[in-house]
Symmetry: C2
Subunit: 324 residues, 2 copies
């Protein structure tokens, strides 16, 4: 599989076989109160319960185990300050190869610790995009490691699609799928997986209004490549990738945008009703369903709860009155 | 099944058949970090994900569906300010019968709302044990409803045992089971279920030092019937029941006590690592494992996370500096 290709539905099926028993088959939950609130029948795929606390392990696992013995021998590398770095480290460890993570100064301590705890070698760099890319290039040159990007990569997109695939297997007859969109790995993978479904569910991407580059990209037909994100959903601040955009432009029913207060309310509602710790990025999907009810009325809806990595000392419904 | 009998292992198996498809078969989770911290191999039975947010539905369901048509026709009743009332209301609704809940003044608003939302008729009474019992007696006389006590009842104990039964089915070879103990419905049910296991796991009850009546009862051989509880674990403040005590005195490996700061730390640790919202009572089980490591070193341990009903605006690691 060429990482530069646009992946297809078949690649999601291949990924599912490749990563089976290397990722957790996460449970699917529902709640009668959330059904009443939404007017739909909601089925939540709990990727917050995935190893590492996020769906990111799926793409990283598929990428790492797609490599030939020769390719894998020098290890893998990425620049990441978040969940992808930790997931790649876990995936590399599962194959017994090295992982190099280029991490910018100022990265959140707990996430850095998480990457290191999973066995990756940390390489520090300055906190800007240029320094991150230069830092990664240097590591690649020095180590011969294979770069694994966080979302704009055929192997990664196909891997992320396995969450929706499992969800459709566990809940037959889904009419809609909803996933949050940031770089677009999960959303694009969900579009590919939906193509396998019978009936084929409509796919909705949920996006914070404060980081609505995907909405703007699809509206204009031109991929937005820069934005100043203003959202609590830290996993969705990046702009959509090249391959991700190509898949989404042809495959989405709509991008549904939500405001910050809706994200926070949905997050607290999910914690309260589902008894799950989910991060703001996950809450964006539920918030979109509650705000844009007209798309989902009376339908069977699969919702991907993308992750649960949250600072438990800084819960937004307890701190939202403070200025950011 | 006579509710006044001491139930046996067979009653747990009967209960499992009776309530199958009426309760959620909750998932079992594990976490490599918690294994490292404990020195054991931990498997968490997620009853916080049960309908109603607690294992309580199991006992209530078993009791309600144990009734004959004639018995059930006038409905069921209980006095409860907490999870049992809500669970009984859900169970009664599943059978299409009435539920009467006698609720003391000053009960937590959200729990009251929960009981009412599940379709029960609320009867208010003064906030003391005598008024609760008198209030219930009055309701029983007026309605002809069948009383379903929260824990000291053969049907309820047998129902609660189904959580451990499922856990043993899903994780073969468990050597230990750990459940929190308050009134002793869950702990006693777990002892009964353990008797079905092969090998038979040792059962440990976990108890807050601030409400250690079970520890004192088993130490002295005489059931303690009054205490002034001082613990955040609101589900464990009551004293152990008659039938519960009889089962526990013969069947427990030990009662393991923990301090308040250990409960709070274990609660936050579980939220952080398992991405689950669990209530303090559930955290008592994990706290006991971390404090009393010598019982579990290298062993396969099943842990029952009893519930997830928490006030999300009052998290103890954020408010613990305040006086209670």
């Amino acid at each position: 599989m060429n990482p530069l290709d646009i992946p297809a539905a078949k690649d999601v099926l291949d990924a599912a076989r490749r990563i089976e028993n290397r990722v957790r088959r996460t449970p699917v939950l529902d709640d009668v109160h959330l059904d009443e609130r939404s007017g739909a029948r909601l089925h939540f795929k709990c990727e917050n319960l995935q190893y590492g606390g996020a769906f990111k392990l799926r793409g990283a696992m598929n990428a790492v185990w797609s490599l030939s013995e020769t390719e894998a021998s020098a290890g893998v590398a990425t620049h990441s300050s978040g969940n992808h770095g930790a997931a790649l480290a876990l995936a590399a460890r599962s194959r017994g190869i090295a992982c190099h993570a280029v991490v910018p100064e100022g990265a959140v301590r707990s996430k850095l610790d998480n990457i290191a705890a999973n066995g990756a070698t940390i390489h520090r760099c300055a906190a800007n995009q240029h320094a991150r890319e230069a830092g990664l290039a240097l590591v690649l040159a020095q180590t011969g490691a294979v770069p694994i990007p966080p979302f704009d990569d055929a192997r990664v997109i196909a891997g992320q699609g396995t969450a929706a695939l499992e969800l459709m297997q566990d809940v037959p007859g889904l009419e809609c799928l909803v996933a949050p969109v940031g770089g677009g790995g999960l959303a694009a993978g969900t579009v590919l997986a939906a193509g396998i479904g019978s009936p084929t569910p409509l796919v909705y991407a949920a996006e914070p209004r404060g980081a609505d580059d995907t909405w703007r990209s699809l509206s204009s037909g031109v991929r937005v490549t820069e934005q100043l994100p203003a959202t609590i959903a830290d996993g969705l601040r990046t702009t959509v990738g090249v391959r991700n955009f190509e898949i989404l432009r042809g495959g989405l029913a709509a991008v549904l945008c939500v405001d910050e207060h809706e994200i926070i309310a949905a997050m607290k509602l999910a914690w309260s009703r589902l008894k799950l710790v989910i991060e703001p990025s996950s809450a964006v999907a539920l918030a979109a369903i509650l705000r844009h009810r007209e798309h989902f009325a009376g339908r069977r809806v699969g919702v991907i709860l993308s992750g649960g990595n949250v600072d438990l000392d800084q819960l937004p419904w307890l701190t939202q009155q403070r200025p950011n």
